[in-house]
Amino acid sequence: MTTLAVDIQKRFSPQVCIQGKLDVPVDGYQVTALLGASGSGKTTLLRCLAGLELPQQGTIRFGSEVWFDAASGRVVPPQRRQVGLVFQDYALFPHLTVEQNVAFGLRRMDRSSRRHRVGAMLELFDLLGLERRYPHQLSGGQQQRVALARALAPNPRLLLLDEPLSSLDAPLRARLRREMTQRLAQLNIPVIWVTHDRQEVLEVAHHVAVMDQGRVQQWGTKDEVFLHPVSLAVAGILGVENVPVATVLETSTQGVKVQLGKLCVELCRGAPEGLSPGQQVRVCVPSGAVELRPPGTTQAAAQVLEVQSRGPWVWVRVDVGVELECWVARHHAAQLPLGPGQVVALHLATQHLHLIPEL
């Protein structure tokens, strides 16, 4: 398996330092999302990978190739990394037509193969008929497709996307996300996709790296990261709705038993080492792991605190000694006593709970 192995530090000032350590699989179509709030260092990390910024420390290796090594001073310039980059605002060349933009990176091809390649990209990205237009004559969605076609035309080994959909309207964004991933899968290219939108990550990514405070805090497969955040901050970025405090009751080789409000919960997986009874921990309870049932059907009784109708879903906040948020499908909600103050039964899918040994 080929990987892009990154371990770098870029210092802007004594206070501001971007650190990134992660391995990105680069065999065929694989989307690795870099998720984080704005200012968390995602774009800087991406620019370091493209070669547009130089870190002060560390290494970047693409397979067996060394792209950057601070110790030996080796730097491969962006021109020779064969990496496609799509900027957040696309950075199309305003003085060139759609066709000339797409052909920009094909300087070294002979004329006929260049024509062929440009034609193929225009077709793939649904740009036929727009060849002679200038960027300012295109809609946002069309510009985005030109930017992708231009970056992909030279057949790069890796595609870097910097918030590729953030400047588009929400409905268009959802559609383009699907179209884009289909096309990228067709080209079988590895992708690093910078975004602050976790919905986007859930839809497009195979792997996720979570950035916060200038650091890659956690990276792994999407499920691994979303189900087992390493810290409270990461859980927040991933949008885990409930991270209540619990008390460790007992630990064994099989797992951990914790007291979560009125509930006694046994967790079989994801029990960190070094926990001792009596210790307080956090438990990640994704809303999807909380199920409300008619009263009396489970041992745990929960009191309804707040109910909000949200389209086809009903959002409910309940109290079981700790407060938990969850979602109930509308047709299911009709069968439950969901008035504030009423009591329902609560079931936790304990296999999806996860401990964070931090408060």
Partner: protein
């Protein structure tokens, strides 16, 4: 007056010197000015404001002051002038070459300011995009920066040319007033008025006025084209 007479009234050697001076000055400033302007527009370094102020100095300095210093610097009193005389066997002041040097210095802001302004409008990300598409620095300059900046660069060229054609003080101080060698049209007008040759003075002045107006029209036109892009 018929066109034929108009043709005869103009002092052609003087027109030729003026045009030659404008071409040389503009050419030297394009060759030296483009790299310097690119450097100044894209880099930050300590003392940059001082350097920029120095570049703008000829805009506000009386031309006679500038001309005086240039005359001193090029003449045998200064190390530079002495070095030139020892190396080449002749002195720069009151020659056409000396006039070109002085004119280049006096026109630095007219070329560099528009060049720098044009370069400053280029989005850095376009250059980065070009780089990630495999273009070398030189290629991204020629394929992205130059075409995008062309209107701005051309307006710098036109301004420099037009301003050189009309320069008076510096030319008089450094070039003297040698007919066919360093006498330009602007100086010829002054001479003609001194000897009461108002006819020729008015024709020369008219030509310069028309030329200056056309040049400015051209720069505004180029400015508009740059905005459209």
């Amino acid at each position: 007056m018929t066109p034929h007479q108009w043709w005869n009234v103009l002092d052609w050697p003087t027109v030729w010197v003026t045009a030659k001076l404008a071409f040389w000055t503009t050419g030297v400033l394009v060759l030296l000015g483009l790299p310097v302007a690119w450097f100044l527009a894209t880099r930050r370094f300590p003392g940059k404001s001082l350097l920029e102020a120095g570049i703008a100095l000829p805009l506000v300095l009386p031309p006679t002051v500038l001309g005086f210093y240039l005359l001193m610097a090029l003449g045998p009193q200064s190390p530079l002038g002495r070095w030139w005389e020892e190396s080449f066997g002749w002195r720069l002041p009151f020659t056409f070459a000396g006039l070109v040097v002085a004119s280049v210095v006096a026109n630095v802001p007219f070329a560099l300011r528009p060049f720098m302004d044009a370069f400053a409008t280029v989005d850095r990300r376009l250059l980065e995009a070009a780089q990630t598409l495999g273009a070398s620095r030189w290629e991204s300059f020629t394929r992205v920066v130059l075409p995008l900046c062309l209107p701005g660069l051309l307006s710098g060229v036109v301004l420099t040319f037009a301003h050189t054609v009309g320069e008076f003080g510096v030319v008089l101080m450094v070039g003297g007033n040698l007919p066919g060698v360093t006498r330009t049209m602007a100086i010829a007008i002054y001479d003609d008025v001194q000897v009461l040759n108002y006819t020729r003075a008015s024709w020369t002045a008219g030509v310069l006025l028309g030329f200056a107006f056309l040049s400015l029209c051209l720069t505004y036109l180029l400015g508009k084209r740059a905005q459209v892009q």
